[in-house]
């Protein structure tokens, strides 16, 4: 599922190799085109490399759990996430390289590759899928888009952009609606619709503050449709962009360390 999902936590994992200058770039002014706004959202969490910590809280009908993790990413297609808490799963790690995902399981001390048939499955029990981690493409490339609303909504001046996948794009969604703050192009929410255009899930952004030198939402909440009370909440606690990282960090050998 290429496309806008990366904007969420996994955007961080899949950080695109953007010019260094990006990080220092001032927030866009209003009056940007829809394409520029979408690109801004895509690039918000990206850098040539990144390193940080985040927490993830998953609430389902049957259980609730909270995890803390550390992540590293290099370029747009290499990333590594290691679980710090809870204790039972400490050391469990996910390595993403290109289109592949491997998990390291410290309990049995084995690395396993996630088969393509399970890429649509949940990542670490969350409401994000393995696919959300690996696909990297730009919304403005995969979708036809147009501004469908501009004006005041919920106390903010917002721009709503409706994106419909191009016929050639390999995308599982039928439509994605992105709402951004007009003043600084900070994303507020993204609503995903399935192929029948029924709502499938919503990603809501919050906690906008300066982190790693950028102004960005530091919390996001993925809410699946039709499962009230279920959600995955991700909170960035610390993030540094453009830190020097060795390529060897993103290897199977390093994964097992």
């Amino acid at each position: 599922m290429p496309g806008p999902t990366r904007v969420c936590l996994l955007a961080c994992l899949a950080l695109n190799a953007m010019p260094l200058a990006r990080a220092a770039e001032p927030a866009p002014r209003s009056g940007l085109s829809a394409r520029e706004l979408l690109d801004h959202v895509d690039d918000l969490y990206r850098g040539a490399s990144a390193h940080g910590r985040m927490s993830m809280k998953v609430v389902t009908e049957h259980w609730t759990r909270e995890m803390k993790m550390e992540f590293w990413s290099l370029g747009k297609d290499r990333s590594l996430v290691r679980i710090l808490e809870p204790k039972k799963e400490k050391g469990t790690a996910t390595l993403k390289s290109g289109d592949n995902i491997w998990n390291f399981l410290p309990k049995v001390s084995r690395v396993i590759k996630v088969p393509s048939s399970m890429m649509g499955g949940s990542w670490m029990g969350s409401h994000f899928t393995n696919d959300d981690l690996v696909k990297e493409s730009r919304m403005a490339d995969d979708y036809d888009f147009q501004v469908t609303f501009e004006g005041a909504r919920g106390g903010d001046e917002v721009v709503e952009i409706t994106c419909v996948p191009k016929p050639t794009a390999v995308v599982v969604w039928g439509k994605v609606v992105v709402v951004l703050r007009r003043a600084d192009a900070i994303p507020l929410r993204m609503d995903y619709f399935d192929e029948d255009l029924a709502p499938a899930r919503s990603l809501v952004f919050d906690g906008v503050r300066v982190l790693g030198g950028r102004t960005m939402p530091t919390q996001m909440r993925m809410q699946p449709q039709g499962k009230p009370g279920e959600a995955t909440e991700v909170r960035y606690e610390q993030i540094e962009f453009d830190v020097p990282l060795e390529e060897g960090l993103f290897s199977l050998r390093s994964l097992q360390r």
Partner: protein
């Protein structure tokens, strides 16, 4: 009595014609009996594969489990223990099972799998599946285990794979399998297993996705707290599926108890469709035999037209003549089906004892997801023998009615002057 004797004598006035017709009836009867036996063989084999292999005569699930197949819908614990206790008393063997989806990985190969947490002793008692290991053996019994099965001298957690899953993973006996699952508490359950058995072909679903493990290992892997999703019940042929359901209905209150027919409606419908097909097939044979009889009786009555004239002149009623001819046809059918019965039973016996070896066709014969036996054997049930024979009598008598009616309606004067 004299009617029978006269009819019998009449039959042998032209013995060659009678023999030919009798041979046709006998052959049709024999083919019908043997065919019914073969068709019944498929149905019985299919039902046996289901009720004896792994599904059972009837199955208990939590209400709504069959629709959602949710890990979080186990059979309420008190219902489960009630059913297990009651099945003993009802003469039914019960196998409790827990199911959970996860990932299995061997070397660089991995695949999704359905874990079956089973009680090895109960499975062996109730079902044939544990005896179907193509390589290695099924999960060992607790007493064989002696504190943990070992493979090449080290203790292992046993895992038995469905055939196609084993092929996907390129894993044989001795292969190490990493299992990764979403556990019941949301954590990432993972464990190392060793393949100790690979099943032969037992049915599409199990072949493709099943990974059998001991329930104790399942509980640990899935943080499952002893939950049970299914209790499969098998009477091993001693009771029908309906009887099993009836005997355990009270114990299963609070959960859903259904016959395998409700669980696998497509297969159930198919077994019923076979019955219909058998009779459509039979109809063709009965018609062929009947037409032969009509012809024979037409000729026989035509030859005796003057006798019928005399009989009528002497006061024999048309009904009497109708009856004479019909009895003649029935006697013909009786003797012919007796021969057909012997030949048909012999054929069926051969098809039962030797069967038709289908393995040369290559691969498994899978019907509606049920893997059939490689040797196709006939099965004889009384109805499949009595049915064709009686139907043949009826066909012959019905077929004689037209010639009989012609003979009965005859005008005595014209008949006696008939040359």
């Amino acid at each position: 009595m004299s009617t029978l004797r006269i009819a019998w004598r009449n039959l042998w006035r032209n013995s060659r014609r009678t023999w030919i017709t009798a041979a046709a009836i006998a052959l049709n009867t024999a083919v019908l009996i043997a065919t019914f036996g073969l068709m019944r063989g498929i149905v019985v084999d299919m039902v046996r594969q289901i009720t004896l292999l792994s599904v059972g005569d009837a199955v208990v699930h939590a209400e709504g489990y069959r629709q959602e197949r949710s890990f979080f819908k186990p059979i309420p614990a008190e219902v489960a223990s009630r059913v297990l206790a009651a099945s003993e008393a009802a003469g039914v063997r019960a196998a409790p099972r827990a199911f959970g989806f996860g990932l299995v990985s061997s070397g660089s190969k991995s695949s999704g799998a359905m874990f079956w947490g089973v009680d090895a002793a109960a499975e062996r008692r109730a079902f044939d599946l544990p005896g179907r290991a193509a390589e290695g053996s099924f999960l060992s019994l607790p007493d064989e285990r002696g504190g943990g099965r070992t493979y090449l001298g080290r203790p292992v957690r046993e895992l038995v794979l469905g055939r196609k899953l084993a092929k996907t993973l390129q894993a044989g006996v001795g292969a190490e399998i990493v299992a990764v699952v979403q556990a019941g508490d949301g954590s990432l359950g993972n464990e190392l297993f060793t393949v100790t058995g690979v099943l032969g072909g037992v049915g599409e679903e199990i072949d493709r996705s099943a990974a059998f493990i001991h329930r104790a290992d399942f509980d640990e892997l899935f943080v499952a707290d002893g939950r049970v999703h299914q209790i499969a019940l098998s009477a091993r042929g001693a009771l029908t599926d309906a009887e099993v359901v009836q005997r355990l209905a009270a114990a299963a209150r609070g959960a859903e108890l259904v016959s395998w027919r409700a669980l696998l409606p497509a297969v159930s419908d198919m077994t019923r469709m076979f019955d219909a097909m058998m009779w459509i097939f039979a109809l063709v044979f009965l018609l062929a035999a009947g037409l032969g009889v009509t012809n024979t009786m037409l000729m026989a009555t035509y030859e005796r037209i003057r006798e019928f004239g005399v009989l009528k002149a002497l006061g024999r009623s048309p009904w009497g003549i109708l009856r004479d001819v019909a009895v003649e046809a029935w006697l013909l059918a009786l003797s012919a089906t007796a021969i057909g019965l012997v030949v048909g039973l012999a054929g069926s016996w051969y098809l039962w004892a030797r069967g038709i070896d289908m393995s040369s066709l290559g691969g498994d014969i899978v019907v509606q997801g049920v893997t059939m036996n490689n040797v196709w054997r006939a099965t004889l049930v009384p109805m499949d023998v009595v049915g064709p024979v009686v139907a043949m009598w009826l066909a012959c008598v019905l077929a004689s009615l037209y010639p009989a009616a012609r003979a009965a309606r005859i005008d005595p004067v014209r008949a006696m002057t008939h040359v």
